[in-house]
Symmetry: C2
Subunit: 362 residues, 2 copies
């Protein structure tokens, strides 16, 4: 696979290598510098609505005994990514680990003992080269499904996503090479559960309402997040997010919108700050008479609600109200609880009403 960014990323990797070899030749200690990826260095940029890494930097030096192993591993990973780009290949992060795991000749030591050693260094290389791992030709686990009036070119194949029956397109981990050939959709509806997507497809919601449906199947995978971003950015489609009415659903929304703390260095490429939250809300419970199909909060739910209340990006009147109402009602509500009205209710009344009335939370 080839990406537009290949030459840029290769240059950035080469630059790291050149610095190190120059240092070796001039007798200086070989060193790499990289941004600190701890939560202490994660900041919320209110204006852009994105999580960012701050400016704290650390360095990793070959001659510092505590850094030597990690330095060696960083070089191996950088070198392998450069090779992947040059060979137009991609690898899963697990394959990368296995490709690089070998004996260091003359020693009893292995280059890597577990994937827990290589994964964080991939994140390091991403920050060092200011590139997504996908641009380093590495793949994360994929998950997610897509339906709608959108024609995509993927590896030379022309895929009409409105002609995939009830099966749908599996969203891969790398979508940067997708070409959007034609789009007759008016907006993107991001849905937490695949079962709800099944419901909407059965009701032909996507075709009747010109919606692109993106089903996440829980927390959004990187490929799905990037795809939502691209649909918003390249096709200028509004994005609405539809999750369960609980702190886990709300956090899924916030990751799609603002980015995640773990991957704050990638928010700019993965997050869609323009997206809006559609439901389920606490107001829905009273408005639609759903009291009988709520569930009581568990202790972990309550703890999580309090965490969300402490996050700066939830510090908005509507979200504070929503989260506090969840606590005072002692209630959470699932998307599929709408079936208690009727199977068709979500597609015929709930979603069209919310969208027509612009009944969103930002």
């Amino acid at each position: 696979m080839k990406f537009e960014t290949d030459p840029i990323v290769t240059e950035r990797i080469k630059k790291i290598g050149k610095k190190v070899t120059d240092e070796i030749l001039t007798g200086e200690p070989p060193t790499v510098n990289l941004p600190v990826r701890a939560s202490s260095n994660v900041h919320y940029n209110k204006q852009e609505g994105l999580l960012y890494l701050g400016n704290s930097m650390s360095s990793r030096s070959f001659l510092n005994f505590a850094h030597t192993r990690k330095f060696m591993q960083t070089m191996l990973i950088a070198s392998k990514c450069k090779e992947l780009i040059e060979k137009s290949k991609t690898a899963s992060i697990r394959e990368l680990y296995y490709e690089l795991k070998h004996n260091i000749s003359g020693t009893k030591e292995n280059t890597f003992e577990g994937q827990d050693e290589s994964d964080p260094l991939i994140e390091d290389l991403e920050t060092m080269t200011d590139s997504l791992r996908e641009q380093l030709h590495l793949k994360a686990d994929s998950s997610g499904i897509l339906f709608g009036k959108l024609i995509i070119e993927d590896m030379g194949d022309r895929i009409d996503c409105s002609k995939l029956g009830k099966s749908g397109l599996a969203i891969p981990s790398i979508v940067d090479d997708y070409k959007f050939l034609k789009c007759d959709a008016d907006y993107v509806l991001v849905v937490e559960t695949k079962a709800m997507v099944d419901r909407l497809v059965e009701e032909k919601f996507h075709l009747k309402n010109n919606a692109i449906l993106v089903g996440l199947g829980g927390q959004a995978a990187r490929g799905a997040r990037r795809l939502i971003k691209l649909l918003n950015e390249r096709l200028k489609l509004p994005v609405y997010v539809f999750t369960d009415g609980d702190p886990w659903g709300y956090y899924i929304y916030s990751v799609v919108k603002t980015g995640s703390m773990n991957l704050a260095y990638e928010s700019k490429r993965l997050a869609t700050p323009q997206c809006r939250f559609l439901g389920m809300t606490m107001k829905d419970i009273d408005h639609f008479g759903l009291q009988k199909v709520t569930e009581k909060l568990k202790d972990v739910d309550k703890k999580r609600i309090k965490q969300l209340l402490s996050y700066e990006w939830f510090n908005k009147p509507q979200w504070i109200k929503e989260l506090k109402s969840m606590l005072s009602k002692d209630a959470r509500i699932e998307q599929q609880a709408l079936a208690s009205k009727s199977l068709e209710f979500v597609a015929r009344e709930y979603l069209p009403g919310k969208i027509a009335g612009k009944d969103f939370i930002d």
Copy 2:
């Protein structure tokens, strides 16, 4: 959605209802009879290579106080499934729960308190009507991905599964209505991890080798199992299974081949006894020099290996050898460990060699 079996299944549900109403009219206690679904009533049919439910029956009587609630719930579920079939609708098992959850008028009691009450009764209704839940128009969670030279008709759409780029077709939970319009594939390769499917797609393995790739993403979902069965039965394609070399991978294979203990009553419709195991095997470790990329067994692995050794359907010389060798080597090996040879190795050498040499375990 309409299925061929709709009239038959409706008749079977009606028969249950007629028995109960007849009993009410004649003053007898309303009762339903159903097969026992406990492991004590699960048998392995060696000749057919399938797990089956035995002949033990139990009955559920409305006038037996211990049965009353379950009896009422069974009637609600049967009635709702009949309605779904008549309306050509399908529902997820979670939606079914929400659709049926309501107050019983004149009491403080709800029909259902949790989905853990409705799920087992769905399984009861499946055995009582000798039907898959999909034939009752109920959907399980879906998971799985498909690529290959196969053209499917799904809800009127014609889907060419060889023209889906690196994205692939998401396998839905209901596949009985698929029409196989054209197939230029020679066999089905069932793969445990989606990451390995990504690898094979990047190498164009499916196109070069005329293979249909079915990626499971862990344990096989019902939709994927049914699809494998249909590909084998209707298109007469041989099926090879490629999993990690560990007890969890081997059990995934055995579920695809023989059925699962939980769902023994459905083996006949979900299992593919003709399928064959391709790898990873313990022999592969020595044969391909993979000692450096194995992992030591954990206690849970060892315990699981001993469980498999106690199952009748693993009581075959090759499997006993394989499982005992795993214990004596104290090693497990993942599919992706083949990347230690080279990224292309699995597609260019490992799989073609195994298939050409018929190097399988049954």
